[in-house]
Symmetry: C2
C-alpha cells in the first residue's frame, strides 16, 4: 500500500532506541511503497499537536549518528491515552492527522505502556475503517516485555552496569578496610538490570550481594548477609533494585513515592535508606551510589550485539508492515542457546500490553541474594562486542534532531 | 647507586595511577642500578606492616594490564604519618624496613598529603644518614597540585564527566518538559572537575549552570539562575561541586560532614539538598545525580593523553632518582599552548605539600556560573584520544595484583 510512515518514541530512553529509529528510516527509505517518513516529536504528543519531524529532510549526519545517540532523538513522552469508549478526543484528532499526512504505517517504539497505546489507536482506526498498519517496536532497559527473548536497550544497560560495578568494586578495595557500598539499579518490578551486576563477578570484582524486586526484601536477612560478608572481607558491595518491596508489597523506598501518569511509583532512594540503616544500626561505614539515568544513557558503552539487534528490529518492523501485518510487536526468539542466534518474529500487540516479564526463580540462587549459571547463560550473549562510539576531540557526537529540526 | 626500589600508592584512586605504576616498573626493570622492585600493599601502611609485593614476581599479565586498571592496583591508604619530632615510631620502623629490603629508591604516588608524607620520611632518613632517593609522583583527579600544569588522573576524569554530562543532558531533553537535574561532582576545594562538565557544551549538550567551590555559593542567586533557565527552556541542567561553601565558609553539605584522618570533611549530598530546595521552595520537579566514585574509576573511558602522560611520569620518576635527584615531585610544564606539548620537570617536594591549586578567576565567567574560553583552551588537550579498554567477552580485564598476590 502506497503511503507515508509515522514513527514515534515513547517511555524511558535507552542507548539504542535511536538505533531502532535508524533501522526504520533505512528500511523505509529503501521501500518503494513508503513515500515520506515522519516522526512524532515527543511520541504521541507530537502527533496530537501536529508536530511532526519530516525525516526525509534531515541531514545525512543527523541520520547516520542515530545509532550512537542516547536518549530519544525524536523526543519521548509519558502520556496515557484515554480509553476510546470513554473519551474519543485524542483518537478523532489522530485520525485527522493520519489523513492529513496520509499515514499508512504507524511504528511505535517503546515499552509495555507504549504497546498499549499502539493497540488502542489501532482498535479505533479499525473501527472507523481507516486503512493503516500498526507495528510495535520493543524498547526498554528493564527487559520486562513478554514474548521476546529480551528487549533492545537491555544489553547495553547490562553491559554498562556490569563494567561500572567492576570499577566501583576495584575502587572500593583500594583501601584496606572498605565501606559497605550499596549500588542502586533501575528496574521497577523486574530485576534484570540489577541481576546484570552479577556479570562483574566473572572478572572477580562483582557484588557480594544482589537483591531483586522478584524476592520479598527482608531487612533482617539483609543485615545478616551484610554482617557475614563484612566479617570475612572487611568490605561489602551490594547491588539492589530500586523496586525492592517487603513481604507486604510496600516499596522499601516508598516514603518518598510519587506516582507518574500511568500510576507507577517514581522510585529512587533505596540505597541511601539502606546505607543509613547500616550506618546507624550496624555501625559500619556505608556509602550509597545510584546509577541514575546514566545507566540508560551511557552511549559510550553500547553492546555491539544490542545495537545490531536494535537496528534489525526497526528494519523488521517496516518489513512486516509492508507485508500487511498489523497489531503486532516485533519479537526476538533465541534459536539456539549454545550458538547464540536470534530469529525475528512478531506477536499480537494485545497480548503484550501491560504484561511484565520478571526474572524467573531458576535464575536466582537459593540464598536469594545472587544469580545462577542459567542467568549467566542467558545474559552473556547480549553484552558481546563494543559498538564504536563517535568520539571527536574527546567528546561524543550525537544526532542533533531534537535541538535543530 | 645499586639497590632496590619501593613504590607506593596513596590517597583517592584515579583511573591512571596504575599507568604511572606501569611506567615506574618498566623503567626500573630496564635499569641496571635497580635490582628488585617492591610495592607497598596499601601505601605506607604496607611498609610499616612489612607487607610488600615483590613486583619482579608478578605475572606479565598482571603488569601489562596495569594501564587499563582503575582503583589502586597495589592498594591505597589514607594514613597521616606523625611528626618525627613528636613521635619517631613510624620512622624507626621504616628505616628498619628500608634496610631489610635494601631500599634505595622510594617513589610515592599520590596527592598533596602523600607528598607531605614523602617529604617527612625523606627528612628523617637524611637526619639518620640513610642513603635513599625520594621522588613524588603526582596523581589526583582533583588537579589541585601546584607547580604542575595538571595532574595525571584529571584528564580521564574530566573526559568521563564531560561525556556523562552530555548523556545526562540528552536523556533529560527526551521529555518535553524536563526536570531540574542537579549533578554533583567531586572536588573538595578545587573546582577543576566540576568545571570540566562545561566541555559537554561544545556538543550543544552541556550544563546550563556550573557552581565551583572557588566562588562563594549564594542560594538566592542560585534560585534566580535556575528560574531564569527554566522559564526559557522548561528544563535545566546544573553541575555543582561537592565542596561549594557559603560566604561564611561553611560547606553547603555540612550538616552531614565528617572528618577523615587528615581533618578533611567527607562531603557528598549537596545535590539532593539543592534538589530538595528547588522541589519544596520553587515547586519545580528536581532530580539529583551524584557521579560518586564512578568518576574516578571509569577505566572504560580513559583519555589517551592522560594514560600516556601518567606512564611517562612514572618513567621520569625513576630516571630522576637514578640521576641522583631527591625530594622532588615530577611536574609537567606546557611548552606551548597552540601545539600542546608537555615537558617533564621536577619541583622540590617541600613546596608542594599541602598547597592546593584552585581554578583561577579568569577561567570563570563573570556571572560566576560557567567557564570562559581560557578554561577550554586549558582543558581540551587533556581529554584527547581514547585509550583502548581491555574488553574480553563484554567486560574489562583488570590486573589482579590486589586479590591474588
Amino acid at each position: 500500500m502506497k503511503g507515508n510512515l509515522l514513527y514515534g518514541q515513547s517511555g524511558g530512553p535507552t542507548t539504542v532506541i535511536n538505533a531502532t529509529a535508524y533501522g526504520v528510516i533505512k528500511a523505509a527509505f529503501a521501500s518503494e511503497e513508503i513515500e515520506e517518513v515522519y516522526a512524532m516529536r515527543h511520541g504521541i504528543m507530537g502527533a496530537l499537536n501536529d508536530d511532526l519531524i519530516h525525516v526525509n529532510k534531515l541531514s545525512e549526519e543527523q541520520i547516520e549518528l542515530l545509532p550512537k545517540t542516547p536518549g530519544a532523538a525524536f523526543g519521548s513522552v509519558r502520556y496515557k491515552i484515554a480509553n476510546a469508549k470513554e473519551d474519543e478526543t485524542d483518537y478523532v484528532r489522530l485520525l485527522y492527522i493520519f489523513k492529513k499526512y496520509n499515514i499508512r504505517y504507524f511504528l511505535y517504539n517503546g515499552g509495555n505502556d507504549s504497546m498499549d497505546t499502539c493497540y488502542k489507536i489501532s482498535e479505533y482506526m479499525r473501527k472507523v475503517d481507516y486503512d493503516i498498519k500498526f507495528v510495535g517496536l520493543p524498547k526498554t532497559i528493564d527487559n520486562d516485555l513478554p514474548f521476546t527473548d529480551h528487549t533492545p536497550g537491555f544489553g547495553s544497560a547490562a553491559k554498562y552496569i556490569a563494567n561500572t560495578i567492576m570499577e566501583i568494586h576495584y575502587d572500593m578495595i583500594a583501601y584496606p578496610k572498605g565501606k559497605i557500598t550499596i549500588v542502586e539499579i533501575m528496574g521497577r518490578h523486574a530485576g534484570w538490570l540489577t541481576a546484570s551486576s552479577a556479570i562483574a563477578s566473572l572478572s572477580g570484582y562483582g557484588p557480594d550481594l544482589i537483591y531483586l524486586p522478584e524476592i520479598p526484601f527482608d531487612i533482617d536477612q539483609f543485615k545478616q548477609d551484610v554482617q557475614r560478608v563484612y566479617e570475612e572481607k572487611e568490605q561489602c558491595l551490594v547491588a539492589v533494585s530500586e523496586g525492592i518491596m517487603n513481604k507486604d508489597g510496600d516499596f522499601i523506598s516508598s516514603s518518598s513515592a510519587l506516582k507518574d501518569a500511568f500510576g507507577h511509583f517514581q522510585l529512587g532512594g533505596v540505597a541511601p535508606k539502606l546505607a543509613n540503616i547500616i550506618d546507624s544500626e550496624m555501625k559500619y561505614k556505608a556509602r550509597s551510589i545510584e546509577l541514575s539515568t546514566i545507566q540508560r544513557s551511557a552511549a559510550h558503552l553500547q553492546s555491539l550485539t544490542d545495537v545490531t539487534e536494535a537496528i534489525e528490529v526497526g528494519k523488521r518492523g517496516v518489513a512486516v508492515a509492508l507485508d500487511g501485518e498489523s497489531d503486532v510487536m516485533i519479537t526476538m526468539k533465541r534459536k539456539d542457546q549454545k550458538d547464540y542466534e536470534i530469529e525475528y518474529t512478531s506477536h499480537p500487540l494485545k497480548d503484550v500490553a501491560n504484561v511484565e516479564r520478571v526474572v524467573p526463580k531458576h535464575m536466582i540462587n537459593k540464598e536469594q541474594n545472587g544469580m545462577t549459571q542459567e542467568f549467566f547463560d542467558y545474559v552473556l550473549p547480549l553484552i558481546q562486542g563494543e559498538y564504536p562510539s563517535g568520539f571527536k576531540g574527546g567528546i561524543q557526537q550525537f544526532s542533533t534532531i531534537l535541538k535543530n529540526s
